[in-house]
Amino acid sequence: MNEAPCSFHRGIDGMAQIQLIDLGHSYESRPASSRPARAHEADPWALKPMTMSWNDGGAYALLGPSGCGKTTLLNIISGLLQPTRGRILFDERDVTALPPESRNIAQVFQFPIVYDTMTVFENLAFPLRNRGWHAADIEQRVREISAILDLDADLGRRARGLSAEAKQKISLGRGLVRPDVAAVLFDEPLTVIDPHLKWLLRRKLKQIHQQLRLSLIYVTHDQTEALTFADRVVVMTHGEIVQVGTAEELFEVPEHRFVGEFIGSPGMNFLECAWDGNSARIEGIVIRTVSAMRPARQDSLAIGIRPEYVQIVPGPGPNCVPVHIVSVRDVGVSTMVALEVAGRSAWAKLRAPCALSASERTFAHFPPERCALYAGDRRVA
């Protein structure tokens, strides 16, 4: 595990910057644009048309709730699904019409896929045999990959009797064994892995990522998994990418209300506010925020602030609003305080234990540098 075998130096064709250009997908036979939309119909786009690029060698997590289109996007990138519209480029090369086996992509699925009747060795050799490799080359290549994945001892065994963790490694190995593979796609690969093995396998993935400099795209609905695994997290909801950023950016600067609510526990507070022409006000009190631009629209404005940054103060002051404390709960490292602000509920997550009690009336301070204005779903810059 100390040194990468020399054969992993990838040629030009191994590099891949993946670009999605105006890519959209609908599972209906005729997408919305080709016929008049009816009001009662659900949004026909499983994946709304989008344009974005994935850099070579990056570790991306695709984060979102179940049914948000993550797997659809993944299957389009790997070629299992033909998009309804748009193009996919690998390094400027249009691969939209290419079948999965002609793209230099590997995919690991939610449940381990192994060929039951084959040994571990045959499983790993399968993609190479299908590509007509010579036995000696296959032998060498499979041994390299099994060394990386710690599968050497199992090579001669039948694949079906192995643990879920080992099977998932085999699935991964079948992807890595092809030397042209530039990106590995993971579709919630740790779902069936025992919790105590999850972190081991996740660490292995990171190791492989660093060793082979492959691009990784990792689909998950678990924010901890996404934030610990990836360099950049792509947050999706309702078939739309709402933000791409580092874990810190997603936490500190959510560009979309969904990101604020989905990331963090509990999610970001969004408090309805009014606009007086110059500043946002809650119950008539001016709330200064980091948003410098004027909101494009005046309706459905809200102040967003993380529960971690809400401070409980005894008296009024700038950026302070009167609150009613609903409940106080000590959860160990922090104290969760449920508040009622202008008839809306909100959370404060306090680091230190406090002497607050339920039904108390006091004030909450929203530090201006931690507040942002949201118009509709979007953050106002």
């Binding site: 999965p100 086996e101 995919q107 399968f126 299908n130 009797g161």
Partner: protein, 292 residues
């Protein structure tokens, strides 16, 4: 604690209903046959114990040897044709939508037709004078007549069985195929597997248990076949399509040889049991050899 704990035996009463029903449905009838097989029944009140006499007679009976051989060839041919054909049909069936429903209904159709009706349908269908198949073949210049030529009779009986029962294999295989998760096909597509490799390494291993059931069902059924060839050819021409069941019926009902017929029944029963056991353990063996 000293001494063994007293055991409450009253729970045995709960087994009684099952015991009684099994006794009347299986054990007593079987023992009656065993009883007949060792006696010579001369009249309602006259019987003589003959020991293994009937068994010896039956096992030396050359007509029975012929029937047994024909039976084995027939069951073997049925399995060799219906299993691959059924799997091939299942693979070709549409996977969803109204076409799948239509295919399922069409495939289920032959299974719903009573045995003797199937026999009658083919009896008429294959007649060289008025039957569509027989007449067409004759017009095309074939010397086809299932009532005269043994080969024609065999082909017709086999064709009838294939028509009647291949859909059972196809439906079982279809159900097995539908239970294979989509991800297996996706993984195979990414691995660049050919259609044959997908069949060989994904579909076939995952169909093994349903195919095992299909083989057992088709073997047992074809080994006991009676009605259809009886209606179609009556076992002829000569004894060309007389299979074991028909021979047994001739002995028991036709000639009223109760003793030999009973002995023969037991031998027949043991053969089926033996062959099923062999098939089952053979396939179980493949199963265990492939696990570590």
């Amino acid at each position: 604690m000293n001494g063994p704990k007293p055991v409450n035996q009253r729970a045995w009463w709960l087994v009684l209903p099952v015991l009684v029903s099994v006794a009347f449905s299986a054990i007593i009838p079987l023992m009656t046959v065993v009883n007949y097989s060792v006696q010579d029944i001369l009249g309602p009140t006259q019987r003589v114990f003959v020991g293994m006499e009937w068994f010896r007679e039956v096992l030396r009976d050359s007509e029975l040897h012929g029937a047994l051989l024909r039976q084995l060839v027939f069951s073997g041919a049925v399995l060799l044709i219906e299993m691959p054909l059924g799997v091939a049909l299942a693979l070709a069936m549409p996977q969803s939508g109204w076409r799948a429903s239509l295919a399922l209904v069409l495939f289920a159709m032959p299974l719903l037709i009573p045995w003797n009706v199937v026999g009658t349908i083919w009896q008429i269908f294959a007649r060289p004078d008025i039957g569509m198949l027989g007449h067409a073949l004759t017009q095309l210049g074939f010397d086809y007549n299932y009532a005269q030529h043994s080969m024609d009779a065999w082909i017709t009986v086999l064709l009838m069985d294939v028509w009647h029962w291949t859909s059972l294999v196809a439906l079982l295989a279809y159900a097995g195929l539908r239970s294979i998760p989509e991800a297996y096909y996706q993984a195979a597509a990414i691995d660049g597997a050919s259609r044959w490799a997908v069949f060989r390494h994904i579909e076939l291993p995952r169909l093994r248990s349903v195919l095992m059931i299909a083989v057992l069902l088709r073997f047992m059924d074809s080994f006991m076949i009676y009605t259809e060839p009886f209606v179609l050819t009556g076992g002829g021409p000569g004894t060309a399509t007389t299979f074991l069941s028909q021979y047994l019926t001739q002995k028991a009902v036709g000639q009223f040889d109760l003793g030999p017929a009973a002995a023969f029944s037991l031998v027949y029963f043991l053969i089926i049991l033996l062959v099923c056991f062999m098939l089952y353990s053979f396939m179980k063996d493949i199963d265990t050899r492939e696990s570590p």
